[in-house]
């Protein structure tokens, strides 16, 4: 039988997704989560093992930042891939002209603007970095890296890094290699780790402690742990429906993890600011 909506709830897409065709650029954040200045608002995200999970993670992180009243720019290094940011958020991206940024506009929240090397030259990326650095720390630039070490070596952006990784030995070794390159380049103002799809949080925490201890010993650097992103069917559904999980009304383990990781990340700058 066809699903019937109750009277007074409005259109499903509007009530659940809060789409709006009116820009809300004038909206300012409330200042509760004041960030530290400079590079801490440029975030480079990389999952060497899965472009899809990387885009999924970024899409949801962008929404959480927008929810906290931050304007978000995305530079999507995977924009030519079928699992780029625009692809995984397709159901909520507004129609656009060829050379414009893909825009996600949710009612009452600052826009999320998605650029990428396929449609924009690297000067645009430099512009975005300048805009974010010149702002009153109310704008974020999320850079979705292409996952290769070569890309990490050629990337001159000074940023905070979020690395997603499995906890098997190969994935961790790959992650370690990325951290090594990032630190060699001196382009990090912080490195955060998110584990991807680990069954037990306790096991993930123990693995992180071993991993962090090794990095501290070998590279003399302290990394931070944001959490473990479990995989359940809500993740698959979100990718299939091209609608970020943060917009779903249903609770799920993956959504809870994503919310917890995002909040911990945002809270980390609040803590930094207070100290």
């Amino acid at each position: 039988m066809e699903e019937r909506f109750r009277l007074g709830r409005g259109l499903k897409e509007i009530s659940q997704v809060y789409l709006s065709d009116t820009a809300r650029n004038e909206i300012k954040r409330h200042g509760k989560l004041k960030t530290v200045s400079g590079p801490r608002t440029v975030i480079r995200v990389c999952h060497p093992g899965s472009c899809l999970v990387q885009s999924f993670f970024l899409a949801n992180l962008a929404l959480e930042l927008a929810k906290n009243r931050f304007s978000v720019y995305v530079w999507d290094g995977l924009d030519s891939s079928p699992v780029g940011m625009e692809a995984v958020m397709k159901s909520i991206v507004l129609d656009r002209k060829e050379d414009e940024a893909a825009t996600v506009r949710l009612y009452g929240l600052p826009d999320i603007l998605i650029y990428g090397p396929q449609r924009h030259d690297t000067d645009k990326l430099a512009d975005l970095v300048r805009i974010v650095h010149a702002s009153d720390n109310d704008r974020y630039l999320l850079v979705s890296a292409d996952g290769s070490l070569a890309s990490a070596m050629n990337d001159d952006i000074h940023a905070e890094h979020i690395l997603l990784s499995g906890t098997d030995e190969k994935s961790l070794l790959q992650c370690y290699a990325h951290i090594r390159v990032i630190l060699d380049k001196g382009s990090a103002s912080g490195i955060f780790i998110v584990f991807d799809g680990v069954g037990h949080e306790k096991a993930a925490q123990e693995t992180f402690e071993r991993f962090a201890a090794f990095i501290d010993k070998k590279l003399n650097y302290t990394i931070d742990y944001l959490g473990n992103l479990s995989h359940d069917e809500s993740l698959e559904r979100s990718v299939e429906e091209t609608k970020p999980l943060m917009l779903s009304q249903d609770r799920s383990e993956t959504k809870d993890d994503m919310v917890s990781i995002s909040r911990k990340f945002i809270h980390s700058r609040k803590t930094h600011d207070n100290s």
């Binding site: 060497p48 290769s148 070490l149 070569a150 070596m153 098997d168 030995e169 190969k170 961790l172 070794l173 790959q174 370690y176 290699a177 990325h178 090594r180 390159v181 680990v198 069954g199 037990h200 096991a203 693995t207 071993r210 991993f211 201890a213 090794f214 010993k217 070998k218």
Partner: protein, 189 residues
């Protein structure tokens, strides 16, 4: 721990069972109490063994892993349903059936993340052993190893580190063999 046993006749599954039994007796000090308990419809155990601390229900996978996994679980169910009967058949001096039960699966291949999957869903301990045949059909050797013990050192022993760098695309990081080995040891600790 690994062991190469030879020769192995591939003519009969029973003979392979005996070779595997020999591995567990020689390498792990198991006592093999019985071969081929139960039946394929209600649950079958290829080898019933013990080491005085645990009872092991051993399944040897000669075909596909999902089938062997199901067979192992069915074997456990059969074992529990027939425990009273088994206690009458096997005297305590042969095997103490009140000991905790563990499953052992020998297979050529295992799906990725199988350890964490089994840890998540199983209430009993499951030990996994990989076996491989080498040599020719006429004169084969069998190689068995505990993949739990060797999981983290597998790369180090079996895989050339140059190949590993290429596979993971980490050559640009210029990590030495020593650094990679140190990393592997640290993650294993």
């Amino acid at each position: 721990m690994s062991r190469i046993l030879k020769p192995v006749s591939l003519q009969g599954v029973e003979y392979v069972h005996q070779i595997c039994a020999q591995y567990f007796v020689d390498e792990h000090g198991f006592k093999i109490v019985e071969y081929n308990l139960g039946n394929t419809f209600t649950g079958k155990i290829d080898l019933l063994a013990t080491n005085s601390a645990e009872v092991f229900l051993i399944t040897l996978n000669m075909e596909d892993f999902p089938g062997a996994l199901l067979r192992s679980f069915m074997g456990l169910r059969w074992f529990r349903e027939n425990l009273d009967f088994l206690k009458r058949v096997y005297p305590p001096e042969d095997i103490d059936l009140n000991l905790p039960v563990g499953l052992i699966i020998l297979s050529k291949e295992f799906p990725p993340e199988i350890h964490s999957i089994l840890a998540e869903v199983c209430s009993v301990r499951v030990h996994l052993y990989r076996y491989e045949f080498f040599g020719s059909v006429e004169d084969p050797d069998i190689f068995i190893r505990d993949i739990r013990e060797s999981a983290t050192s597998e790369l180090q022993t079996d895989q050339d580190l140059g190949e590993l760098r290429k596979e993971l695309g980490i050559e640009p990081a210029n990590m030495s063999d020593e650094e990679i080995r140190e990393f592997q040891a640290a993650m294993k600790a």
